[in-house]
Every structure is written in C-alpha cells, then in structure tokens.
C-alpha cells in the first residue's frame, strides 16, 4: 500500500536563550492512504510537537531536520508560499480547545467557509451551501440557522463538530487531530469519535490522532505509535495492543489504567517520572531508568525494529505475549 505520509529521521530542537530542548529525536513513521494512526504519549513525549512539525506551524525558535514526505513531496523543503497552499487544503488540523481557535467576533459560518475562499476553491454562495451540507453531516441540527450563530452560542461538543466541518470543507487528504476530545465530556467524546470514524471511512481520508489516552487511541485508530522521550518506542496494530504489546513502557501503561471489567485492586504503576521537557536524554534506551527489566545492554540505544508485520519495537528485551 502506498504511503500518504512518510516521516524519516525527524528531529525538532527548540532553542531559546541558553537552553536547548530536544523535542523529537529521530522519529520515523508512515501513514498508508486511508488509514488512521494514533500518536500516544505522556506529557513531554513530543506528540504535539510532531503534529505541529508536519503542519510546519512550530514557533521560529525551533529548528527541524529530517524528511516529512507528503504525497512524495518533502514538506520541510517547501518554500513557505507553497506550504500555505497545502495547509488547510490537503492537510487540515483540529485542536483540543475549539473556543481558542475560533474568532469570537465572526459567525461560525464565516469561519467555516474561510479555507474555501482563501484557497479560491469556491464562490461565497457555493461555499455557504457546502458549509451547510457539512454542518448537517457532522450532526449539527438546524444547520441553516447555526451557520449564522457566533461561537459563544455553541456548546463545546457542537463547536468541535463545527471545527471538524471547517477542517473538512476543502476535502483534505489528511486530517491531524491534536487531542480533539480531551476537553469534552465522556459522552460527547464518544460521539465525536464515532463521527470522526464515519467521516474518515466515507471520504477515504487519512487521520493522525494525537492523544494521551491510550484507550481512546485504540478505539479510533488502525495503528498506534507510542512515543517516549521524543522517539517512537513501539508501533503496533491497535487490535493487538493488549495481547501483543512488546515494549515494557506500553505494557506498564496499559496495566496502570483502571479497568472497568475487573474488581478494583491496587494498580500497577511505572516507577519514576517521565522524561521532563528540557531534560537531557540518556545515551542508551530512553525508558531504561524506569524499566523493571533493565539489563547492561540497555546502556545502548535500541533501534525501532520490526518484530512482525506492522509491529515495530525499540527494545532489547521485548515482552513476550501474555507476560507482564
């Protein structure tokens, strides 16, 4: 299957007066056409930096190296003028807090049609018709009327639906969603996930879903990339995440999440702290300091290597099936 997006050896470094933060440290990832992948990690793992690096919306204090091949074209090498033709057209993005990304002084409708007008893809009248159709598709009742509403007249869940409509109006090939359901109530989250899944299927669109919630990732995506210390430590098919997880970090994460189908008892936890932003990476395995299976060989950095088809792990001593 051809890849819509292929990332090779991506590094992102933030530097401001005297301090250097290495957010991404040589990351590889591929997204086949029409697939959904989830990027999962705890705070400081670099997952949001990755999403912003693909869109090239990182602040100017950052420097990026490596390759981000989208449709065979290296986005990192594009002049900013050409990147603007891709952003919001072939690649769209939605964020955690829709109220922060919408202009409170413009109607929701005006903002939804903006990508179409910016990219000269439709006349205002056509754009309006398309927007109202889309509002209907994303499950907003009475779209004609809602088109003329201001953001404050929408609830959080409805605003996120409107953001999705805005992101989809240019029929992008790729949608990047950065924690889009984190601020929502659990029932609304489930509805938005169901909606995203259906829209993606109908449109054959590819999706990158960034989240800290491993269970949500497994619900929405075909494949999961687990990040730690700015690196991918495991890449696994989401249907195999519990039974075949191989990295001790992923194994530990799954066990530390409270289950609802067993009697509550003490939870497993991973000792120590995640690598903090700005902290120097260890020369060896990034997880070694917290790993209960640590061996002398872990002083060397393990590469992300395949263990089976579409399952890669960066660990010298991957877990066996069924073990903890």
């Amino acid at each position: 299957m051809t890849d819509l997006l292929k990332i090779e050896d991506l590094h992102v470094v933030f530097s401001s007066t005297g301090t250097v933060v290495r957010a991404l440290n040589g990351l590889d990832l591929s997204l086949p056409v029409g697939h959904a992948i989830a990027i999962v990690g705890e705070s400081g793992s670099g997952k949001s930096t990755l999403a912003s690096a693909i869109m090239r919306i990182l602040p100017s204090t950052s420097s990026t190296s490596g390759r981000v091949l989208f449709d065979g074209q290296d986005l990192l090498g594009l002049p900013s003028k050409e990147m603007r033709l891709i952003r919001g057209r072939s690649i769209s993005m939605i964020f955690q807090n829709p109220t922060m990304y919408l202009n409170p002084t413009k109607t929701v409708g005006q903002q939804i049609i903006e990508p179409l007008l910016y990219h000269h893809l439709a006349t205002p009248a056509q754009a309006r018709k398309k927007a109202i159709d889309l509002l209907d598709q994303v499950g907003i009742p009475d779209p004609d009327h809602r088109f003329r509403n201001y953001p404050f007249e929408f609830s959080g869940g409805m605003l996120q639906r409107a953001m999705i409509a805005m992101a989809l109006i240019t029929d992008p090939k790729l949608l990047i969603a950065d924690e889009p359901t984190t601020a929502l109530d659990v029932t609304v989250q489930a509805e938005i996930l169901v909606l995203l899944k259906a829209l993606r299927k109908d449109r054959g669109m590819s999706l990158i879903f960034v989240t800290h919630d491993l269970a949500v990732a497994a619900q929405i995506a075909d494949e999961i990339y687990v990040m730690y210390g700015g690196l991918v430590v495991e890449h696994i098919n989401s249907s195999k995440i519990v039974t075949e997880r191989a990295h001790p970090y992923l194994g530990g994460l799954i066990r530390s999440i409270p289950r609802v189908d067993v009697d509550p008892g003490p939870l497993y936890f991973i000792p120590g702290q995640p690598i903090r932003v700005g902290e120097e990476l260890p020369p060896g395995c990034v997880f070694a300091a917290r790993c209960q299976y640590r061996q002398p060989i872990c002083k060397e950095r393990p590469a992300l290597l395949p263990v089976s088809q579409s399952h890669d792990v960066a660990c010298w001593l991957p877990l066996k099936e069924g073990s903890a």
Binding site: T187, Q189, L193, A215, Q219, I241, V242
Partner: protein, 335 residues
C-alpha cells in the same frame, strides 16, 4: 440475585449530610439551579464518587460541603451539627474538618514556600502546636504520602506534578480532617503517575479510615476508588448506589450513556465505541422551568409521562437510588 449486606450493618455513623440542598444563582437569563434538592449522606470511612458532565452542579455540590458556598435552601450537617445555620465566624473549626485537594496541584500550593512549609501552613493558621511540633507533623505526613527527605526543602516548581499532588494531599491531611474532598485531583496527571496517587488514596482510606468525596469526569477512576457513586445531571442526582453495581448495571438512561462511553481496556483489547446515538439532541438547561424530567430532551426512551412529571429519586430493590420512571425496565437486572 444474592443481596449484599446493607451498608448500614458496617456503619460507623454519618459524617456529613446534605438535606434538600438547593443552590440558585441569579443570572441575566433568570434563575439557574446549580443544585436542586440534593440529599446526600457521607458515612464515616466511606468514599463517594460524584460524576456528571460540565454544568451538572458537581463542583457547586462540593463547595457547599466545603462550607465555601452557602445553599439557598436546605441544610448541611457535619458530624451532628447543622453548620448551614451557623454564622460565618463560627465555621472555622468545621472548615478544619473538611479539607480539599484541587485539580491543579501547582496552582494550589504556595509557590514561595518550601514543601514542608506548605504542609505546616494550615497548622499555623489554626494555631496548632509550636514550630517544632508542626515540623514533626509535616515530616510524618510527607513520609506517609511517599515523599523522600530530598523533597522537604525544595519549592513546588522544583518537583514533578505527581509529587506536587502528594504535597497537596499531605497538606490537606495536616489538620487531621474527617472529610477529604478531591475535585478532579488526578485529572492533570499522566496515567503512570495517576495510578500511584490512586493507590495512595486507597492506602490512606484503609490506614487512616479516611472519608472522601471524589469528583471526577473519569468514570473508571471513580469505580477504582469509590465505594459509592453519585451521578448528577443538571443539578439533580439521577442515580446513586454501590459503584460496582452501578457500573455493571446502570439503570438511569444517562448513567447508561456514561458507562457505555468509557474508553477502557479489557483482557483482550479495548471497549468498542458505542454503536448509534447515545443521546438525542443537546444539553438543554431547563432546570427550574420545566415540570418534567430534566433528561427528557435527550433521552432515547422518553415517553409522554417524562414530559409532564419529574421522576422522584426512589430506591430500587437492589438498594440503589434512581430518578427515572422506567428504571426497572431499563436496568436489565433490576426488577
């Protein structure tokens, strides 16, 4: 079905009680009932989880329990005293008995004080002991919450979020409160750290016989650490009962929607996304205006009676409380 022994058999007594508590706020759009005739009993040594979506009144409810917000109507009882009718100046000793841990640990610690000073501060405010004895209490508490001696004389910004939350818990325990209220206390923590804090709370509950009220939007967390769960919707309690029972067999349609929405792992994978629509329409705040069930506009099972009659909170045969006309029919195992 084998019935569990009634909870009252193991009772150590009642610690806090809300009786018909209503809190109304006056807004530009008229009166808003944040809490509407809430009855809640917190037993000594118990753990009560409160869930509900944003705007359901759960934060107002705990503020009333904390004696920060006074109810418009109804009574608040704390350890056999009707504190809701006491004047402000007499509340201080009762406030001491109810302590609070907030969502953002860094925002709730004093940034200009070291970890140990933070834990000693409430003792100072309440004039307990001298400097040496206050230090002794703080040291013991910090050890109890699992902070090593390296962390005593550092400032909050120098430690991680999980450690900050431990300090906040130690500080809340410094006055030996009878009731600890935790509002989204693990929501900002990474899961591996969240697990440690949840385990700590369980240990404190067993070790100190601590009573707590835990507010969270994360239902799996509530089920993990609370014996009893209260589900709120638009200022009202819609379902209340033993956590495991309530999650296994939710009776109110709103609780059903909540439980079916929980993303969680199972032995072999992950819970599936709910098929079809969980709820119809949007949150409509009709509190105070409509005479019918407040969940009516969103309920997929609603009938005519739901529009006209607000269902009373009533007890089902398995001991749980539900406010739904059709609870028996909707809860598969209830009668």
């Amino acid at each position: 079905m084998i019935r569990e022994p009634a909870r009252s058999d193991l009772d150590l007594g009642i610690l806090a009680r809300l009786h018909n508590v209503t809190k109304a706020y006056h807004t530009r759009h008229g009166e808003l009932l944040a809490c509407d005739q809430i009855n809640l009993t917190v037993r000594k040594g118990g753990s009560v989880g409160i869930v509900g979506e944003s705007g359901s009144g759960k934060s107002t409810l705990v503020r009333i329990l904390q004696l920060i917000v006074r109810p418009t109507e109804g009574e608040v009882w704390l350890d056999e005293v009707r504190v809701s009718s006491l004047p402000e100046r007499k509340l201080k000793p009762y406030r001491r008995n109810v302590q609070f841990v907030a969502q953002d640990p860094f925002g709730s610690l004093f940034p200009h004080m070291t970890v140990i000073q933070n834990v000693m501060e409430p003792l100072y405010v309440h004039g307990i002991g001298d400097r040496t004895s206050r230090e002794g209490i703080a040291l013991a508490l910090l050890e109890q919450v699992g902070l090593s001696s390296d962390h005593l004389f550092v400032y909050p910004h120098e430690i991680s979020g999980g450690q900050q939350q431990r300090v906040a818990i130690a500080r809340a325990l410094s006055l030996s409160p009878q009731l600890l209220i935790l509002d989204e206390a693990v929501a900002s923590l990474d899961v591996s750290i969240q697990a440690q804090v949840l385990n700590l709370l369980q240990e404190l509950k067993k070790g100190l016989g601590l009573t707590f009220v835990f507010v969270s939007h994360n239902l799996a967390v509530i089920r993990q650490i609370c014996d009893e769960t209260v589900v709120m919707y638009l200022g009202r309690i819609v379902e209340q009962g033993n956590s495991r029972e309530l999650f296994r067999n939710p009776s109110h349609p709103y609780t059903q929607a909540l439980v079916r929405s929980i993303p969680a792992f199972t032995a072999t994978g992950v819970t599936p996304l709910p098929p079809g629509k969980l709820m119809t329409g949007e949150l409509v705040n009709s509190s105070g205006t409509s005479q019918g069930c407040s969940y009516y506009p969103r309920c997929p099972f609603a009938e005519r009676v739901c529009l006209n009659e607000n269902p009373e909170l009533r007890q089902l045969r398995d001991g749980r409380w539900v406010s739904c006309h059709f609870a028996e029919r909707l809860g598969a195992f209830s009668e």
